[in-house]
Symmetry: C2
Subunit: 169 residues, 2 copies
Amino acid sequence: MTANSDDTRAAGPRSGDLLTIGQLSARSGIAHSALRYYESLGLIQATRTSGGQRRYSRGMLRRIAFVRAAQRVGLSLDEARDALDRLPERPAPSGSEWDRIATTWQDRIDEQIAELEWLKARLTGCIGCGCLSLTRCALHNADDRLGQAGPGAHYLRTHDPATELEGGR
Amino acid sequence: MTANSDDTRAAGPRSGDLLTIGQLSARSGIAHSALRYYESLGLIQATRTSGGQRRYSRGMLRRIAFVRAAQRVGLSLDEARDALDRLPERPAPSGSEWDRIATTWQDRIDEQIAELEWLKARLTGCIGCGCLSLTRCALHNADDRLGQAGPGAHYLRTHDPATELEGGR
DNA sequence: GTGCAACTTCAAGCGAACTTTAAGTCAAGC
DNA sequence: GCTTGACTTAAAGTTCGCTTGAAGTTGCAC
């Protein structure tokens, strides 16, 4: 960005609240290209200057934070947009819709933690047994557990986030 | 020209130790196509019948389980193969190399759990405050934390697994 | 008014992890 | 011997989440 003054926006008299894409990128840690990509997906919005440049309200930082949290919880960007679309866009999302999402996400987080704990426990067992015990070693016994999830790329996702969000309640 | 003149022993679907790709797929829960893909990457190996069909030893189930565990820990398939290559292929991996990997993975798991706990705690705060508190809400405050990791797609990976495995020797 | 960083669009490219398709071959039960 | 389903290869296609490149425009300090 230019070495213009250190406030958020030096240009216009009343533009104190608006961020350029470079500023939004710096604040959010998301690359310019990714922000434009997010805009193309409808995750964030921008107004335009008369010259066509994007200007973002500070509320976009909140939306980006929401998206990043959604990703960490395992949602795709499409799913994050759906969730955002259901939130009232006030000063901040509020009310039962947000409660519902937060609760759902916490459940998902708990599931992910539980799975990691399971894996960790099995690895601990392996260390203890030197991975030589056919009856106790995680990697020996894992195949008993492997077949249970059915075919497909289910190993990175243990459940379908869409059904979780849409049909869950 | 008999199908099983050799040690391959391709006499039938339930011929002792060797599995067809269909059987391996059923046992492991991994699609046929993915198994062939894994073979192309060197993650698993097969002998061949005189007719050219793959036959897998039961040890491949262990290797697949290892790969799946590696994926859950956040490794790429290439990294999983590197780890497999360093394990002695005995009845089971054993010894200090396995200890080292298991320990490294447990550290990674701990990190992932910690991050999930952090996110969960922030969501809990949001529920408590109805997401209206500018000072406490995770999504309001997240941007303060967002910029700290620098640019790039750092939000899904908080560290580089390659340096973890290679440099940590 | 000039210089230059920061911006614009659009399309193509990328990397990971697979899946799909097409056309053919093998294995085993009857 | 025939049939049928499981298998073979190679290449192309898919999805996700972006990044890169080219070529041009805007905004602002000097």
